[in-house]
């Protein structure tokens, strides 16, 4: 694998020497300072990228409490037409996309996991803990994705999202409830007027094994029912067989079908298996217009881990540095305790940075996590542990 990357980049360089046009030379050598450009300059031409992160700042400034305005501001930035996309040349063909993805810096497994573990030793106490618990609650996509879901179950979940702790009305609401498309209308009614979003999985979740038309219909149906956010799954089969273009096109199509809804793209990292694959999938998602990149469905053996989330946080950090566009991250599945959630927030804080410490940019896909956060929150307030009978069972 190492050798192939070397070969590719060296043939690319030769190709460049053979037909250097003045325009290309300028683009590759002078104006183009972005991170991965160097590897790609011989292959693709891209417009120069502004050095400052002003777009992101401007967007932050424009961010107001009304969440729908947030969505609009994001939309204007990330839903650029293909012609204007800085990655138009990357996605020009199967070959350019593959070369781009395979030219991303490799990920050293041992080093990545060691860094995630080291950040896991941060000691978050007292005021910092109180802040982190409230932040984590506000970032939860409270989820029920079961065959046995009923209107009653979804209604209860919605009530819990709006008032997580019946004993303390000051508890923040969760970011969203996450349900199957046929439950969107029910969920929407359950959280009406609260500011809690309704997210719907779509595109033949969790396997994603359906025809594109079915996936798009699934998406449109959810949006029509009122979903504010769509959680799609990528076609892992296409990704693993090397058909990156199919994955990319499908995300673009779903993005279009989702219209105003924010799009979360689930990679199912447990099935992609290697960190190099997770980094490549992250970039496909970001280039294709994802508003969030998300680890997993929660339906396979390995779901969100500190290491794969750290890697995706690095990806969104690098993407913003290169394009000015900020993208959210959502680890999902397997995060059950307050301790774990705080570790993820430390990863966010020290990798992507404080700009991501907001439920517009970071979410937890979880269900049982909420009760543990509530128990810890009660403990901080009262000084003693209550117990599972003092939080609601849903």
């Amino acid at each position: 694998m190492f050798h192939r990357r070397q070969e590719e980049s060296s043939t690319g360089a030769k190709g460049c020497e053979r037909n250097v046009t003045p325009e290309r030379k300028l683009c590759g050598a002078e104006d183009f300072t972005s991170r991965y450009a160097r590897r790609y300059a011989p292959l693709v031409t891209m417009p120069p990228v502004p050095k400052s992160d002003k777009p992101a700042k401007a967007e932050k400034a424009a961010k107001v409490d009304k969440a729908d305005k947030k969505v609009k501001s994001v939309k204007t930035e990330s839903a650029a037409t293909p012609a204007k996309s800085p990655f138009a040349d990357v996605t020009a063909s199967d070959a350019t996309l593959r070369r781009f993805l395979h030219g991303l810096p490799g990920v050293d497994t041992v080093g990545l996991e060691a860094r995630a573990a080291a950040l896991g030793t941060r000691s978050i106490k007292t005021t910092a803990k109180a802040y982190a618990i409230d932040l984590a609650i506000s970032m939860i996509d409270l989820t029920t994705l079961e065959g046995a879901d009923t209107a009653g179950k979804v209604h209860a979940l919605g009530a819990k999202a709006v008032h997580p702790d019946p004993t303390d009305r000051g508890t923040p609401t969760t970011a969203a409830v996450c349900v199957y498309p046929d439950m969107v209308a029910t969920a929407k009614a359950a959280v009406a007027g609260s500011g809690v979003k309704v997210a719907s999985v779509a595109t033949a979740f969790p396997a994603g094994r359906a025809a594109l038309g079915v996936k798009l219909a699934d998406t449109k149906d959810a949006v029509a029912a009122g979903a504010d956010e769509i959680d799609m799954v990528i076609d892992r089969g296409a990704f693993l067989s090397g058909d990156y273009m199919k994955v990319y096109e499908e995300i673009r199509a779903v993005k279009e079908a989702a219209g105003p809804a924010r799009l979360k793209v689930i990679f199912e990292t447990g099935e992609l298996s290697t960190y190099d694959n997770i980094r490549r999938a992250s970039w496909i998602g970001m280039i294709a217009g994802a508003d969030f990149i998300k680890t997993s469905t929660g339906k396979v053996g390995v779901n969100a881990t500190p290491a794969n989330t750290l890697l995706m946080l690095e990806a969104v950090r690098d993407f913003r540095a290169q394009t000015g566009v900020q993208i959210g991250v959502k680890p999902a599945g397997g995060i059950r305790s307050t301790k774990d959630a705080i570790k993820f927030l430390v990863l966010v804080n020290e990798t992507a940075g404080p700009d991501w410490l907001d439920n517009h940019w970071f979410r937890f896909g979880a269900s049982s996590l909420l009760n543990d956060l509530l128990m810890q929150r009660q403990k901080l307030a009262t000084g003693r542990y209550s117990g599972p009978d003092y939080v609601t069972v849903d």
């Binding site: 160097r38 810096p105 490799g106 990920v107 060691a114 030793t121 910092a128 690095e314």
Partner: protein
């Protein structure tokens, strides 16, 4: 503590409790199983580098005390060396277990006396100390199989002088193999960090180690010189500066003492353009800012391929801006205090020289506490082989960044130093790792990682970084008559 831009997620102080360690107002020398005053009654104070608070008053060993200690060690040698290896192993296993049991106490003590973050003493120093004793305890009854023929014999009394950067770990590196092979020891800890060695003396008593097998002489360079020059010492082991190492080598010339030296370094960390960038940045940070750069094998020279210099330096600076400098006892502290005012002055002088010679200085934006000895993580760019900061060991949190164009140039620059202790190679290409490692003249070479230690792995230098190996099977040789 740190002065980053206001962050809603500011970590609240999370200090490790000082109450777990009970530091006495004064300590004696540990000779023949007893704590005793110095013959001339001299004492010195040891301070906490992060607060300048006096921690304790410690007896200062002189020549007469060295005489006493060597005599005690000689007396203990016959019985100790005659013990079956399995019996010596039992003592070492017992010591290792006590260290594990008291590791929290020892970690806090080490942090107080040395200034390094509790995160490091807790997660690196103490686990490695225990691991070293466990490892050499295992060798004690297997020396026949170490590759030195049947029944290899110990040397006698070992005189050992250790530095202040890893006080207890360096003690473990010295004492564990010496005892396993049947030698007795007289050890002098550094004058700024005597306390953990004195706590170790207490552990020896707790373990019931026979009197005189381990003797601890806190003191200054004069005591070290007297110890290494003592005629009844059979083996000298020194870890410290190259200048002192040369003095010792001169003093020992013509004697039959066996000598091992582990001296300075100017390690090259070589980053090729196909390196895993995010992990390389972590490795560079760990390579030079671990223990405030006060590590002989620190990766103090970053050799980066010119084509990725900008992106790597941007990432590195961003990462350095997140380092948390402050109270070493705080569990979230990444960068602690410099060990002494003297060391701080040395670092400052070398950094000033670097600036005067035209290298471009960049320091992480962090506020330094008003008391104690502190130095912000710093890097120099635009450094060439001709700059002082590229040649002299700074022994502080200062990284010199040089560039190269080809693998051959990287190797040439990496080897172009009087030292040869450590090096790092960062590339995703396995064949390049092997090719470059074969050409580097350094005792320890890490690939796609840095500053990883293990008792099973021999450690030591080329050229002015010293000779002899510590750790692993190879570490036995220094203490055997082979």
């Amino acid at each position: 503590m740190t002065s980053r831009k206001p962050n809603p997620f500011e970590y609240a102080p999370a200090p490790e409790s000082r109450a777990v360690v009970d530091i006495a107002p004064s300590y004696g020398l540990f000779i023949d199983g007893e704590f005793t005053e110095a013959a001339d009654g001299k004492v010195f104070k040891t301070v906490s580098p992060s607060t300048e608070e006096v921690l304790s008053e410690v007896a200062r060993a002189g020549e007469a005390d060295v005489e006493r200690a060597v005599k005690a060690a000689r007396k203990a040698f016959d019985k100790w060396s005659a013990l079956p290896g399995a019996e010596r192993g039992k003592y070492l296993f017992r010591i290792a277990r006590i260290i594990q049991e008291r590791s929290r106490e020892l970690a806090v003590l080490e942090t107080l006396d040395n200034g390094k973050p509790i995160k490091e003493t807790r997660d690196a120093d103490l686990p490695l100390v225990a691991a070293h004793f466990f490892y050499y305890a295992g060798w004690a009854d297997k020396l026949d199989h170490a590759g030195y023929g049947p029944n290899p014999q110990p040397l006698g009394v070992a005189g050992q002088v250790i530095p202040w950067n890893f006080p207890l770990l360096m003690l473990a590196w010295k004492i564990a193999p010496a005892l396993a092979t049947g030698n007795t020891v007289v050890l002098k800890p550094a004058e700024t960090t005597p306390l953990s060695a004195l706590f170790f003396a207490d552990i020896c008593r707790q373990a019931g180690l026979p009197k005189g097998v381990v003797n601890i002489l806190p003191g200054y360079g004069d005591a070290g010189a007297a110890l290494t020059a003592h005629p009844d010492v059979n083996k000298v082991a020194f870890t410290g500066s190259t200048a002192v190492g040369k003095q010792i080598a001169r003093a020992l010339a013509g004697t039959d003492k066996k000598l091992t030296l582990e001296l300075g370094g100017k390690g090259a960390n070589i980053v090729f353009d196909d390196a895993p960038i995010d992990q390389a940045v972590e490795g560079i940070v760990g390579g030079i800012f671990f223990n405030q750069g006060q590590v002989c094998c620190a990766g103090s020279r970053l050799l980066v391929q010119e084509s990725i210099q900008d992106e790597l330096l941007d990432s590195l600076k961003r990462r350095l801006s997140t380092l948390r400098l402050g109270d070493p006892l705080d569990k979230n502290t990444d960068i602690g205090a410099i060990n002494s005012a003297e060391q701080l002055a040395r670092i400052t002088a070398l950094v000033d020289t670097g600036e005067a010679e035209g290298a471009e200085r960049w320091s992480a934006p962090c506020e330094l506490p008003s008391t104690g000895y502190w130095f912000a993580p710093t890097l120099f760019t635009g450094v060439t082989q001709a700059h002082t900061v590229a040649r002299d060991e700074i022994f502080g949190p200062v990284l010199s960044v040089l560039t190269f164009r080809t693998p051959d140039e990287a190797v040439a620059k990496a080897n172009n130093t009087p030292y040869g202790l450590s090096a790092g190679i960062w590339t995703e290409k396995g064949s390049r790792i092997l090719a470059v490692a074969n050409k580097l003249r350094a005792g320890v070479i890490w690939s796609n990682t840095f500053n990883k230690f293990d008792p099973t792995s021999p450690f030591g230098g080329y050229k002015e970084s010293g000779f002899g190996r510590e750790g692993g099977r190879h570490g036995l040789e220094a203490y055997l008559d082979v």
